[in-house]
C-alpha cells in the first residue's frame, strides 16, 4: 500500500516552482510557460536572453530528432517553424536534461529515443504535426524526474521493488505512491497549459485504450516506449519490455518493414544524442 496521500502528492507536484530540489532554471521556465496568454515573442525573448539555453535549443532543433538538421540558426526562426507548443515542450526537454542525468541515469537517452521513434511513426502515419508527437515522446516520462526529485527515497524503493519482483516501474510506482509518473506528468502538462492531446498522451501512454481525444498519438508514444526498451536504449526505471497493448498496435498498423525503418532511424540518431547536452 502506498503511504503518500494522493492529494498531497498532486499539490506538491503542482507547486513545483516552490520545491527546493528543483533548479532555478526549471522554476523560471515553469513560471513562464504556465502563463495563460504567453506569446511567441515572449518565449523567444526568454530563450534569447539566456545564451546557454539558446545554444541548447538550437542544437536540439538542428539535430535529426526534429527533422531540420542544420538549417535553423536563430531562436525566432525555430519558434516560427515549430510553433508555441513544440517550443514549450522542447524548452522543458533541454531544461530537464541535466536533471534527468542526475536523477535517473539513462532516462534522457530513453526520452530522446522515444522522441525520435514517435516522430518517425507519426510521419509514417501521415500525422499533421509529427513534431508535437515527438515532444510527447520526449516528455512522456517527465513525471519520473519530479517524483525522483521530491521523493527520492520512495522512488528508489520503487525501483528496487521493480527489480526484485520483476515488475514494471509503473506498477512499482503505483504501489509506492498510489499514483504513477503518468499521473504526475499529466498534472504538470495541465499546469503548463499544454494542449489536451499532449496531456492525454502523458496520462495514458501505459493505458492507451483510455485515450479519447488523441488515441493514435497515445498509441504511438506507447509503442515508441516499447520499441526503445526492446532495443535497450537508455534506462527508464527497470530493464523490462512491457507488453504492447494489442488494440494500440493494431491501430497504428505498421508493417514489419516500417518498424525496421523506425529502429534504423532511432539508431542513427542516438549516437548524436550525447552531443545534445
Amino acid at each position: 500500500m502506498s503511504n503518500i496521500d494522493q492529494k498531497l502528492l498532486r499539490h506538491k507536484v503542482e507547486n513545483i516552482n516552490t520545491l527546493p530540489t528543483v533548479p532555478t532554471v526549471l522554476k523560471r521556465l515553469s513560471a513562464i510557460i504556465e502563463k495563460p496568454r504567453i506569446t511567441m515573442v515572449e518565449i523567444s525573448n526568454f530563450i534569447s536572453n539566456d545564451p546557454a539555453l539558446t545554444s541548447k535549443v538550437l542544437k536540439m532543433v538542428n539535430s535529426a530528432i526534429y527533422g531540420f538538421p542544420g538549417r535553423i540558426s536563430s531562436v525566432s526562426h525555430a519558434t516560427m517553424l515549430l510553433g508555441l507548443n513544440v517550443i514549450k515542450g522542447l524548452l522543458l526537454g533541454v531544461s530537464v536534461f541535466e536533471l534527468m542525468q542526475k536523477t535517473m541515469n539513462g532516462l534522457y537517452e530513453h526520452s530522446l529515443a522515444c522522441a525520435v521513434v514517435s516522430r518517425t511513426i507519426a510521419q509514417k502515419k501521415g500525422l499533421k504535426d509529427p513534431e508535437e508527437v515527438s515532444v510527447a515522446g520526449l516528455l512522456h516520462d517527465i513525471g519520473k524526474v519530479v517524483l525522483m526529485l521530491e521523493f527520492q527515497k520512495e522512488y528508489e524503493a520503487a525501483m528496487k521493488e521493480a527489480q526484485t519482483k520483476r515488475i514494471s516501474i509503473f506498477e512499482a510506482e503505483q504501489n509506492q505512491f498510489g499514483a504513477t509518473h503518468a499521473h504526475v506528468g499529466s498534472w504538470l502538462a495541465e499546469k503548463w497549459r499544454f494542449p489536451r492531446n499532449l496531456i492525454e498522451v502523458m496520462e495514458f501512454h501505459h493505458r492507451p485504450a483510455l485515450a479519447k481525444n488523441a488515441p493514435l498519438e497515445t498509441a504511438i508514444v506507447h509503442l515508441a516506449d516499447i520499441l526503445v526498451r526492446a532495443r535497450g536504449c537508455g534506462f527508464a526505471g527497470e530493464n523490462l519490455v512491457p507488453a504492447v497493448h494489442p488494440a494500440a498496435f493494431e491501430l497504428i498498423a505498421l508493417a514489419e518493414a516500417d518498424i525496421k525503418d523506425v529502429l534504423k532511424e532511432m539508431e542513427n540518431n542516438m549516437e548524436a544524442a550525447e552531443d545534445l547536452s
Binding site: K59, L263, E271, D275
Partner: protein, 98 residues
C-alpha cells in the same frame, strides 16, 4: 555513424553531422569530405570529436547484446504481438554487427 576524436580524423572521412559553433551556426555542413586543412581547423577550434559517416561501432559483443535482448523480453513471451516485435528487434540488432 561513429564519433571520432579530432586527433584520429583522417582526410577523406565525411561528416555525418554538421559541425556547429556554440551559437548554433553551422561551420561545416553534413557530408563535407574532410581535407588536411579542415582537420587542422577542427583541431584549432578545440572540438573534441565529430560524427563521421560509416557503420556504427558497437560497445558490446553480439552475444551479449542478444542475451540482454532475451532478458528484456523475458516477462512478455507469448503475449500478443510481442514475439513479432522481438523478432524484428532481434534482426535489427543482428544487423548492427554485419
Amino acid at each position: 555513424m561513429p564519433k571520432i576524436p579530432a586527433a584520429k580524423l583522417e582526410p577523406g572521412m565525411k561528416l555525418a553531422r554538421p559541425i556547429t559553433a556554440k551559437s548554433g551556426m553551422v561551420m561545416l555542413g553534413e557530408g563535407t569530405e574532410l581535407s588536411d586543412m579542415w582537420i587542422e581547423r577542427i583541431r584549432d577550434m578545440n572540438i573534441a570529436s565529430v560524427f563521421i559517416e560509416g557503420p556504427p561501432i558497437q560497445t558490446i559483443s553480439k552475444e551479449e547484446a542478444l542475451s540482454n535482448l532475451e532478458e528484456r523480453f523475458s516477462q512478455v513471451e507469448g503475449k500478443p504481438y510481442m514475439n513479432l516485435i522481438k523478432k524484428i528487434v532481434k534482426e535489427h540488432v543482428e544487423g548492427l554487427y554485419e
